[in-house]
């Protein structure tokens, strides 16, 4: 299937042959309303995070609060270090996890692209089979925890997400569509070793593919909360912001309790907490990096997903 190409021919056909203005207006209304619905919740949450606690008490969450306030944000600085530590953890896990995952994926996908590699079929199957069958949640959990020691440590939040067969397919397709086989042959004849061919010759050509899987992994790690739910029991020092937020849903003063403040301080903090706007401020903290980077990374992800969905 040719997916990425023909964007230019489109205009010609549109100019030649298109729906009348009435129908087009109808399309604009349907698509426009849905598109707005997709971002309005985030705008609403930003508004709530800047709403004063009094206003929330009086009229609830509203697009037009009675009184604006930045107390939620100023509070985040007074609140001890749990919040900032979790935010830092989110960044740390994302950066370390993504770097490792991308390296492993590229190394796994490259030999799969090499038609002259002897065990290509075997390793291809090894990866593909896990897409259609698995041991299930509980055996995986028990083995990771009691056999591999993934429990209450950073490894538990990184290792189980280090490899995705889907990203391997995306990467392999990028190799297949952008790296001509003759290039590899020429490099081999010149006496280039396999690793140096990959690093010096192939990788510079497939940077768009690497960008794509980097973004997919980074978003995956950034949004990860399930691994914390499974593997973190006691060590709240290492949880990412997503999980902190999840815990706060059911336990509003979780943040104050788990900060480094002493008993009396902590309970005083919990009492005066602008808990509702504060929670929404944390949501803003999580979404903001994605929202800022989104306009730039969107096209890579689109390219990657459309390439990856073509059958491998």
């Amino acid at each position: 299937m040719t997916t990425a190409a023909a964007g230019t021919g489109k205009k010609r056909h549109a100019a030649l042959n298109q729906f009348g203005p009435g129908t087009q207006a109808g399309f604009h209304i349907v698509l426009g309303i849905f598109a707005l619905l997709c971002i309005i919740p985030f705008v609403f949450v930003i508004i709530i995070s800047f709403t004063s606690e009094d206003s929330i008490r009086q009229i609830g969450y509203s697009f037009a609060p009675l009184e604006w306030s930045t107390e939620a944000y100023t509070y985040t600085f007074k609140l001890g270090d749990q919040l900032w530590r979790s935010y830092l953890n989110s960044f740390l896990i994302t950066i370390v996890g993504t770097s490792l995952a991308v390296a492993i994926t590229v190394l796994y996908a490259y030999p799969l692209y090499r038609k002259d590699y002897r065990f290509r079929g075997f390793f291809n199957f090894l990866s593909f089979f896990t897409m259609i069958f698995g041991g299930g949640l509980v055996p995986t959990f028990v083995i990771c925890k009691s056999v591999l020691g993934l429990s209450d440590n950073y490894a538990a939040l990184i290792v189980p997400a280090l490899f995705s067969p889907f990203s391997v397919i995306i990467m392999r397709t990028f190799f297949q569509t952008t790296v001509p086989g003759e290039l590899i042959e020429a490099a081999t004849i010149d006496g280039s070793g396999e690793y140096s061919t990959l690093i010096r010759i192939v990788l510079p050509i497939v940077t768009p593919g690497i960008a794509t899987i980097t973004l997919l992994y980074a978003i995956g790690f950034w949004n990860e909360w399930f691994l914390s739910l499974l593997y973190i029991n006691k060590n709240m020092d290492i949880i990412p912001l997503q999980y902190l937020l999840m815990r706060m849903q059911r336990n509003a003063d979780f943040l104050a309790k788990n900060s480094s403040m002493l008993g009396a301080d902590a309970s005083r903090a919990a009492m005066t907490l602008p808990s509702q706007s504060l929670k929404m401020a944390l949501v803003v903290f999580i979404v903001l990096p994605i929202a800022c980077a989104y306009p730039f990374f969107q096209r890579f992800v689109v390219a990657g997903l459309t390439v990856g969905s073509v059958k491998g």
């Binding site: 023909a6 042959n17 609830g60 190394l107 041991g135 509980v138 055996p139 949501v283």
Partner: protein, 313 residues
């Protein structure tokens, strides 16, 4: 002779170095994906702790109990969770396909390309957010005390609804959430397929007197059929898998909503988290994987019969 063995050793060397590249990924797959497949035996055993209390020793010493761990299938809870999983999935596969194909077609027919790009960008955004974040979005509207809907209700003199204890709303809320998060993704896929269609097909159709609706029917839809089928296979293969985050976080893990929010994935998790019943939760997970494998192989076989080009493997 020497030349040939030279080639042979070069080939061996090449295969050796390429294999070293596979190792990190292969080791990960063996440890995190294949080792747990051995753990499936827990489903057929009465798993208990023995001395020394290590996982493998416990597995080996535990006695075989046949299908005893599968007795949960008889309970009424199981019927509910299977109904929920299948019901939501079937509904969402159909709705998702119809809506995203429609959106993609509409978007491709807009003459204002800038607007089309803007709609796509906005629609794709929720796909990149987690269900934890989405659950707060939902909370902003549905919160029992401060949520916008209840605030409006109270302002107009009505009484507040406690959404998190009232099952009747949740089939709609979950459906909306699922569409909100995933429509953008499938629309992008279909749109890419439509953009790839050779424009001369439309010109030929126009010359033959086909209007725009007929062109969609006879040019656009047949051209994206393969894409529709591929996504369908993938989704039908996952028909016994539910999006854990959606069913766990968005309803705030509220117990009174279980009749409409319990699905296989949450059931397995809760069975383990609440009762630590390893045997039963492994059995449920195993059934889920096995049925998933059968579904994906089955749909693929059917597709291969009808249209070999579109099959996945």
């Amino acid at each position: 002779m020497t030349g040939r063995s030279g080639i042979g050793s070069a080939r061996r060397k090449k295969n050796f170095w390429l294999t070293t590249m596979m190792l990190p990924g292969a080791i990960w797959l063996l440890l995190i994906r294949y080792l747990p497949m051995l753990g499936i035996t827990i489903a057929f055993k009465n798993y208990r702790a023995y001395k020394p209390n290590t996982f493998w020793n416990n597995i080996i010493k535990s006695e075989w109990v046949g299908l005893k761990n599968f007795e949960f299938l008889n309970s009424p809870d199981t019927a509910v969770m299977i109904r929920n999983t299948l019901g939501y999935n079937i509904l969402w596969i159909i709705l998702g396909m119809v809506i995203s194909v429609a959106f993609a077609v509409m978007m491709s027919e807009l003459s204002n390309r800038f607007a089309a790009k803007a709609y796509q960008t906005m629609m794709f955004f929720p796909y990149f957010l987690s269900w934890v974040v989405a659950s707060y979005f939902v909370l902003a509207f549905l919160d029992p005390t401060s949520g916008m809907i209840n605030a409006l209700e109270k302002a107009s003199g009505g009484t507040a609804t406690n959404f998190y204890h009232d099952t009747k709303w949740w089939p709609y809320i979950l459906t909306l959430c699922n569409l909100w998060k995933n429509i953008g993704y499938s629309t992008v896929l279909y749109l890419a397929a439509i953009t790839g269609i050779d424009t001369t097909q439309y010109e030929a159709a126009a010359i033959d007197g086909a209007n725009k609706w007929q062109q969609i029917r006879y040019v656009t839809l047949p051209n994206i059929r393969t894409m529709i089928i591929i996504l369908l296979i993938m989704n039908v293969g996952k028909i016994f898998n539910a999006d854990f985050g959606l069913f766990y976080n968005v309803p705030q893990n509220s117990g009174s909503l279980y009749p409409v929010t319990q699905v296989v994935d949450t059931y397995v998790y809760r069975a383990y988290a609440n009762t630590h019943n390893l045997g039963m939760s492994s059995a449920a997970g195993f059934l889920q994987s096995a049925v998933g494998l059968i579904c994906i192989a089955g749909t693929n076989a059917i597709v291969r019969k009808i249209d070999p080009e579109s099959s996945l493997f």
